[in-house]
């Protein structure tokens, strides 16, 4: 038991070190090596944050979806814990995506915010998962809170395909994808050095995400253990 816990800690430490290294290389590549964009200039470097952070948020909400569905099906606490942990980190990355987008929007569109379909749907996504976290803290009965949150977690995930398709379905200020396009392969459309910066930055975000998720999940496990031990002893 103790040995397994130490091994998990060691693995988490390695993951943290890898994340730190990838983030540092990604930052250097994004800010110093990748060339400025032909139209937008240096301000386009915000893309190396913007795209990885929203993709990380999507991954997080996918885990909320999976954890929530499994919890409603099997009623196992670990699935609920995964969904709860992923939702918390997903909210962080969604909020950061909106902030980065706003900072990028000011010099390129001339406004900090506009009620564009993609922006509005992303703001709704953030509100749904902030609601998810609030629901968990407001409802006293833990099982009821977990079930209600699981339903919201599943419904909230349906917003992601809408966000992705919004630039095709509506006339929006937000540009359609430059990299993941159905008509072109990425390296035909984007400078290889820009693609490399994006790939390293994304790898850094992913490693960091799994590091944060493992910490947050373990925190949840410890809280559950504390509750169970207190209940067992009547303390």
């Amino acid at each position: 038991m103790i040995q397994s816990s130490l091994q998990t800690k060691k693995r988490r430490g390695i993951l943290g070190a890898l994340a730190f290294t990838a983030v540092a290389i990604g930052l250097f590549w994004s800010l110093a090596i990748a060339p400025p964009d032909a139209y937008q200039g240096d301000v386009q470097r915000i893309m190396y944050l913007h795209l990885p952070s929203i993709l990380t948020a999507y991954l997080s909400y996918f885990l909320v979806f999976v954890g929530s569905a499994l919890y409603l099906w099997k009623r196992e606490k670990r699935d609920d814990l995964l969904a709860h942990s992923a939702a918390e980190i997903g909210v962080l990355f969604t909020a950061l995506t909106i902030i980065e987008g706003s900072i990028w929007g000011r010099p390129t569109w001339g406004v900090w915010w506009t009620w564009d379909a993609r922006l509005t749907l992303t703001a709704i996504l953030l509100l749904i998962y902030v609601g998810y976290l609030m629901l968990r803290s407001l409802v006293e009965d833990e099982n009821r809170a977990a079930s209600a949150a699981a339903v919201l977690g599943i419904i909230g995930f349906l917003d992601i395909p809408l966000i992705h398709m919004s630039v095709y379905w509506w006339r929006t200020l937000h540009q359609p994808p430059s990299i993941l396009r159905p008509d072109k392969v990425p390296w035909e459309n984007v400078h290889p050095s820009m693609l490399t910066a994006l790939a390293i930055s994304f790898a850094g975000f992913l490693l960091l995400y799994f590091y944060l998720l493992s910490l947050r999940y373990r925190l949840g496990e410890m809280r559950e253990e504390i509750k169970a031990r207190r209940l067992d002893r009547g303390w």
Binding site: L31, V43, L208, M222
Partner: protein, 50 residues
Amino acid sequence: MEAWGFVSLAYGIVWGAILVYLILLKRRYMNAAAELDTLKSKEAASDAKK
């Protein structure tokens, strides 16, 4: 504001926020770990008395 001003602002906010979240998460983690350890030693002491 120049282009690099916007870039610095975005990078500063993002990495600052992630760092703050990491520090707060670590603090919550350490507090829970300490509470669990205390609880375990309290249990052990209570069992030893019996």
